[in-house]
Each structure stands twice: as structure tokens, then as C-alpha cells.
Amino acid sequence: MSVAIEIQNINKKYGDLEALKDINLTINRGEFFGLLGPNGAGKSTLIGILGGLVNKDFGRITVLGKDIISNYRETKKSLGIVPQEVTFDPYFNVRETLEIQSGYFGIKNNDEKINELLKALDLTDKAEIGPRQLSGGMKRRLLIAKALVHNPEIIVLDEPTAGVDVELRNSLWDYVIKLNSQGKTIILTTHYLEEAETLCDRIAIMNKGEIVKIDTKENLINSIDKKVVSVKFADSVIGLAEKLEGTSCKIDEEENRIEIEASKNDLNDLLKFINNLDLHIVDMNIESAKLEDVFIKLTNLGGDRDE
């Protein structure tokens, strides 16, 4: 598999603050890659360096084998970056904005692609409207259209769905999945971890300017030894708290439901214990760990770090 982006020893300081500490990362062509981390982790700074919005202090980045400094014009043509901040050019309506943006990337008469994007992002009926008349979600969709108008090989989406309603979020993801299936490399940062869990093949988790873990989604989730057993009883659960003392347990006395956390090894004993409670079970559900659990563990509690 060829390399889309190679990041080597990238460092960036803002005064005394080390925004990025020796970042090394390889993203392959055709991957759907997640870059996750809490606010201030350094994700947007890294994307900014990639796109030429931020000057790096040290290190090297190549895009499709070309250096982003010495070959910046070529690398910029390969990248479509949706910045986190919602920005707009107040003088031009949606269609004009996309025509101008096409021109910036050396493309004339780009109507076919513009119409495709307007349709995919549900902006067709807003094409002749100025950006001030667009809602926040529409402005964000216009940003996405701008980033895709030159048909880039690598698409970087920095919080693309913030403020976008659920229906349009789904249609956006359908479109991005389609682009990915056509071979485009997608890099996604998002606060919606369930989106990353659903979409990404590999994920890097950043915290305080460092990459604390890079792995496939499955490996990341499997690294957490956690099962959550949720049981709904026909009988009252009042009084169960005493019996469940010492376990990580939540009891909902109104719904007659209990929720117990256990490791995979303890699961067998836990199910026997529930059976021995002598209560009539009406529903049971066992959930595995989620990406959110991995995220919380790696960003709040530290621990497993890739050196």
C-alpha cells in the first residue's frame, strides 16, 4: 500500500507551550484515518502545518511523496482541507464561491463537479444565496464543498459535522464513504467518537501534543478489557444494592434494571451470579468496550503509550 502522508518528527511550540512534540505518523493511500484527541491535543495544529496554515518548527511532512515545503504547490493540489473554523467570503454567493475556489486550484469550467457537490451536500437550492444568509450548518457544508471542488486525493476533515443536523450528517458521511471507496484517503478529526468508530479503519489518539496510540479500530477497542452487562427484571430490584456491593454496578429501581461492569474473565461468574439472584429476567444485553472508553483511558488516565 503506498503512502499518502508521511509525518516525521514534527515539532511546534507556541511560546513555552509545546503544541506538537515529535509527531511521527504514516497514513496510507485509501485509508479512512481518524485523528482523535481532546481540545488542545494538537490535532488542528498538525492539520494546519499539513495545509500551510501553520509554520512548523522542526520535522518534515510529505504528501504523496512530495515535501510540503519545497513542493508546496503540488502538495496543496492533492489536499482538500476542511478547516475547523467556519469561514466565508461575504462578497460571493455559494456558486460563485465554488467557481472562484475551482479557479484557485487551476480548474476552469468546473460546473459538473460543482453541481455534484451542491447536490451531495444539499446546497442546490442555496446556490445563488450569499453566505450571510446561510445557517451555521449550511456554511459548514459550503466549507466542505470548497475543500472538495478540486477533486483532491487526500481529504482532511477537521470537525466537519459540528453544528450539522443528524440527517445531513448522515448524508455527508454517505458521500465521504463513497469518496473513500473510490480510493480517496480520508483523515477525520471529530468529537463524535461514535462517528470515528463507525467510519475509521485506523485511529491515532493525541493528547497534549503527542500521539499516545495508533492502531486499528478493532485493536484499540480490544485493548480495553471491559464488558457491560445490562439486565432488566420483572421483579423489584430494591435491596439488591447490598448483594452487589463490591462490583461496579448501577441500579435503576424504577425500571428494575441493573448494569454491571466486568472484565471478560469475570463474565462467566457474573452471569451465574445474576442467575442465582432468583429474579425473573425479561431482558439482557452485553456490550463490549467502545472507542470512547479507549479515548477516556488514553487521554485522561495516561498509561499505554507508543514510544
Binding site: 507556541y14 489536499l79 472562484i100 475551482s102 486550484f105
Partner: protein
């Protein structure tokens, strides 16, 4: 240089001010038109010492140059500070512009607006002084160079400014005083004592004086000398602005 990329930036810059033409083209016409009316009425019979021509013929080249200076500066400075304010400055940073394309693209936008306003004011001034230009090609050359210089200064101001007020500082404390003290309304030869010498340190003086030479065939200093100063300034600023774009002065963190 990619012609489509470059042309798109020029088109964006020209479209931007054309969409607000009342404010960018016609407003300057009103203010300069008022100067023409007031001066042609107030100093109807006055002749400029050493020139032997009516006062209105003397000030028209300076008034045209003044409008050209203000508008070419305003175009680039407002375009850039507006782009910083609205955040769409990232459009120029993320796109594959070379640094010289960015410099020339913004600069040409300012030149077009400056020369358009200057041309409209010239057309109106015909009503007041007859419209004769002794060296028309030279007048065009000076208009081009001066609007280039102030477009480039506008880019510097726009990059440097963090809010709209900062651009007015640049305009009110540098551009306006230097323009008003450049001999638009008087001949510096007539200034008392040291002041005629001090005026020679004002670069705008050479711009106004050279333009006056192109219009009426007379000037305070040799127009070739003025051309060297104006041309040198234009080239120096072009290199400086290209460098500022390269380092991402005040736009990249």
C-alpha cells in the same frame, strides 16, 4: 505561474470591489468632485507662481493622484483585513498560489480600482479644465506605478493589521499626511525656507510632481529622477510583499 490560478485571484479582487461600486468607485468621485467645484470657484482667477497656468489645471493631476493613491491602498488593505476578519484568508493559504502570484493578484486588484477611480475623476475634471494631457502615455505609466506602490502598501497594512482600526491608523497617520503635504494643492518651490527641502523626503511628492509633468509639461523636479524613485519604490515593495507572503507574516502562526 499558473494562469488560471492567478487570473482567478485577480477576478476575485476586481469582482469584490465591483460588487460594492457605490462605495468603491462613486464615493471617491463625490469627494474629489467637491474639491474640483470648490477650488475652481474659490481660486478662479489665481495663477500658480512659476507655472503660469490656472490653479485648477495645476491641482487636477494631484487630485487624480490622491484618489488613485487612496483607492488602490483601500482596495488591498480592506480585502486582506476583511479576509482575516471573516476567516477566508485560509482560502489563499490552502490554495496552490505561488508567493509572487499572491502579491501580483492582490496588487492588480488595487491597480484596477485605483486607475478606474482615477480615470472617472479625469473624465469629470474635463468639465473644469478642458482635459488636456501633454504626455498621456507617461501619465498612464505614472498612474500604473503609483497605484502599484499603494496597492502593495495596502497589502502590508492588511497583513499587519489585526482589526479594521489598524488600517485607519496606517491611512490617517501616514498616507493622508504624506499626500496632503506632497504638493497636491501647492508648488513646493513656493514653500518658505527649509520646508521646500523637507518636501523632497516625501516620496508622494515625486508621484504628484511627475504626474503633473505628464499632464502640463512642467514640474518642480526632473521627471526622470521622479521615475527612478517611483520605479525603485515599486520594485522594492514588490519584493518585500512577496517575502511577507512567503513567511506568512501575521497570517500563519
Amino acid at each position: 505561474m499558473n494562469s488560471i490560478t492567478f487570473y482567478s485571484l485577480v477576478k476575485r479582487e476586481v469582482s469584490r470591489f465591483s460588487k460594492v461600486a457605490i462605495q468603491t468607485i462613486f464615493a471617491p468621485l463625490i469627494s474629489t468632485g467637491l474639491y474640483l467645484i470648490i477650488f475652481s470657484y474659490s481660486f478662479k482667477s489665481r495663477e500658480v507662481v512659476g507655472y503660469g497656468i490656472p490653479y485648477i489645471s495645476f491641482i487636477v493631476p494631484g487630485l487624480i493622484m490622491m484618489s488613485l493613491i487612496q483607492n488602490s491602498f483601500a482596495n488591498t488593505s480592506s480585502s486582506l483585513i476583511g479576509a482575516k476578519y471573516n476567516g477566508n484568508i485560509v482560502d489563499f493559504l490552502l490554495a496552490p498560489f505561488s508567493y509572487i502570484e499572491l502579491t501580483l493578484g492582490f496588487m492588480i486588484g488595487g491597480i484596477v480600482r485605483g486607475m478606474l477611480v482615477g480615470s472617472v475623476i479625469y473624465l469629470v475634471s474635463i468639465l473644469f479644465y478642458g482635459g488636456e494631457i501633454v504626455h498621456p502615455l507617461l501619465a498612464l505609466l505614472f498612474a500604473f506605478l503609483v497605484s502599484s506602490i499603494f496597492s502593495l502598501l495596502g497589502i502590508i497594512a492588511g497583513l499587519w493589521a489585526e482589526k479594521f482600526d489598524h488600517v485607519s491608523i496606517f491611512s490617517n497617520f501616514f498616507i493622508t499626511p504624506l499626500t496632503f503635504l506632497s504638493g497636491v494643492f501647492y508648488s513646493v518651490k513656493g514653500l518658505p525656507g527649509i520646508w521646500s527641502k523637507v518636501s523632497l523626503f516625501n516620496p508622494v511628492f515625486y508621484m504628484v510632481d511627475a504626474t503633473r509633468y505628464a499632464f502640463i509639461g512642467q514640474s518642480d523636479v526632473n521627471p526622470s529622477f521622479s521615475l527612478v524613485i517611483i520605479g525603485g519604490l515599486a520594485v522594492g515593495l514588490l519584493l518585500l510583499v512577496t517575502y511577507l507572503f512567503k513567511i506568512g507574516y501575521k497570517v500563519k502562526s
